[in-house]
Each structure stands twice: as C-alpha cells, then as structure tokens.
C-alpha cells in the first residue's frame, strides 16, 4: 500500500495527541471521559497494555485487566480527546508485541516480570502495589 497523500499526512499530524511514552507490557492507568446519559465523568481504567497499533492518528492501544475474575479489555484510540490523562505505573518484561497469551492465563501465571531495563519506575510501582 502506498503511503497517504501529503495533504492527508498533514491533516493527521495536526490532530495527533502526545501521550507519555509507553509500550506493550506496561501497566497503565487511563483516565477516560465517559458519558452517562447527560452527565460526563472521568473513569479510570487500570491494566496491562497488550497491544498497540500504529498509523498516525488511527493508532489504538488495548488495555487488559481482570475485574472480579473476569478479563476485561478496552481499546482506546491513541489520539482520542477523551483521554484525560495516562499514567504509566510500571513496565513488564515481554518478548512479544501482542500479549494475547495473557488471555489464557489466570492468577499468578498472568503476571509479567518487571522489565529490568526500566528498573527505576518498575520497582517503585511494585512497592506501591
């Protein structure tokens, strides 16, 4: 596939949002503006990033968490204006770009080893947890 027309690239880059840098395997807290009827409020979704898709304005990332024993995944558009804040809590040691294998794992097996390359942030976050 050929790359998009320069005019489209300019249009896309004008809308891109800068988020703190994070990667697959990181545990993150996403503060997302949701609408309940007429009211709007911020909901916090905390979990592990199991997938990132690139592609300028069209990029998304998937966050997985286990709530009351049920796996929950949410896909967020990376440039969405509804993301109020994104906190990176820690980084996990991963060898894949897509962590779909976490879906098959339960309990202690579903944990990720802290990423040694990001020791500082990883250690502080483990203590917090």
């Amino acid at each position: 596939m050929s790359s998009p027309h320069p005019q489209i690239q300019a249009l896309e880059s004008s809308q891109i949002r800068e988020l703190p840098s994070f990667r697959v395997g990181d545990s993150v807290k996403v503060h997302y503006l949701i609408r309940e009827g007429e009211k709007e409020r911020v909901q916090v979704f905390q979990g592990t990033v199991i997938r990132r898709t690139r592609g300028s304005i069209r990029g998304t990332f998937t966050v997985r968490k286990v709530a009351f024993g049920v796996g929950v995944e949410r896909i967020f558009p990376s440039s969405s204006p509804r993301i109020q804040k994104l906190e990176v809590l820690g980084s996990g040691h991963v060898r894949q770009a897509r962590l779909y294998y976490l879906r098959e794992l339960r309990g202690k097996k579903a944990r990720l080893r802290a990423n040694p390359r990001h020791t500082a942030s990883a250690v502080t976050s483990t203590k917090k947890n």
Partner: protein, 221 residues
Amino acid sequence: MSKNVGLIGRKLGSTQIFQEDGTVVPVTVLEMGPCTVVNRKTKERDGYTAISLGFGKANLKNTPKPEKGIYESLGVETPETVTEFRVESDTLEKFEIGQEVRVNDIFAEGITVDVTGTSKGRGFTGVMKRHNFHGAGTATHGTHEYKRHGGSIGMNMTPGRTLKGTKMPGQHGSKRTTTLNLKVAKILEDKNLLLIAGSVPGPNQGTITVRKAIKGRPPQA
C-alpha cells in the same frame, strides 16, 4: 435531474478525524477546486441554462490549439477537466465567466452532498464478484468443476432465448457511479479540502464531482 451546483475535485484518500466530543468519524479527503467558470449556457442561446466549471491545470503540450485558444480568449488557465452543471436561471446569474469558485462558496459543514466518480475498474469478472451470486451451494453431492458459476440463465422452449438484461459475467467497475446523501464532515477552506464522512466512488487521485444532495431532508443540526 439535479439542478444543484457543484464542484470538481480529486480524491486524495481516506483517514479519520476526531470530533470535539471525541467521536471518531471515518472520512474521505477530497481536494475541491478552486474551479473557474469557463462557460455559461443561457436559455436564449443554448436552449437550457448551465455553467461549466474547469478544474486543474492541463498539460499544454497535449492540448489542441483550438482548445487553448478558447481559454486564452477568456483569460483563464487551460483546465484539465471541464464539467457542465445544469442550474436554474437564477443560479446562473450569480456566476460570471472567469470567476473562481471555492469549496466554501458552495458547501458548508454538516450538509449532505451527492458524490459522482468513476468506480474502481475490476476488469472482466465472474457473477459472484459482479452480481453477488452465491455460486454453487455445495462442493459435495456429486458437484465438481462447478463452484463459482451462475447456474441457469433461462427457461426451455418458452421463451426459447435468454432474456435481455440477465446477469452474467462481464466488465465490472470503471463506471460512472454516484453515492447519494453523504455528509460533509469538515471543510478546510485554506487548503481547499472537503472531508466527507464515509467512502466515495473511485480510486485515489480519481476525478470526482460533488453537488448538493438532490434527495432527502437536510440533516438535523
């Protein structure tokens, strides 16, 4: 017949935009105009009323001299594409030869439009791709070498011929196609860009014309 005035442009490709409330809208980006009015057809002289718009810059090397002469005498640049738009006589009065028409002169964000283009050519295709036939329903029960066929194309002695218009394999695509009632998602006036929600006929770089919608109610604000 649509008597709505339109604009000529080029399809650049598609992407998505975020609305203020965060909703994602898939859009097709069109470079519209600026177009130049190159002709006016009047009731007295031509028997009907229309305006001709020119778009783009022609390759002068490949343009016939008589054609170049026309545009030289008008004092406008020789356009690559010229399209005639049938309009009511009162609309005609708003346009003068040589006048430049831009996106925001005709369109506004939120209105519905009809987009005409030449659909992507698919060549000679079978009935499954061309007419959405289902093909042979099964690959078993003794069926062999018969999977993507159309089945029967008619009856026996009565009428003893295949009816005209029966759907069969043939050229698919590369045909003038109009998509009705597409919504204008956004207009970037300074860049002459028109962003249409949804898809538009034809390949990227294809020439298209956009006019105000002929059918339907205007969308609720």
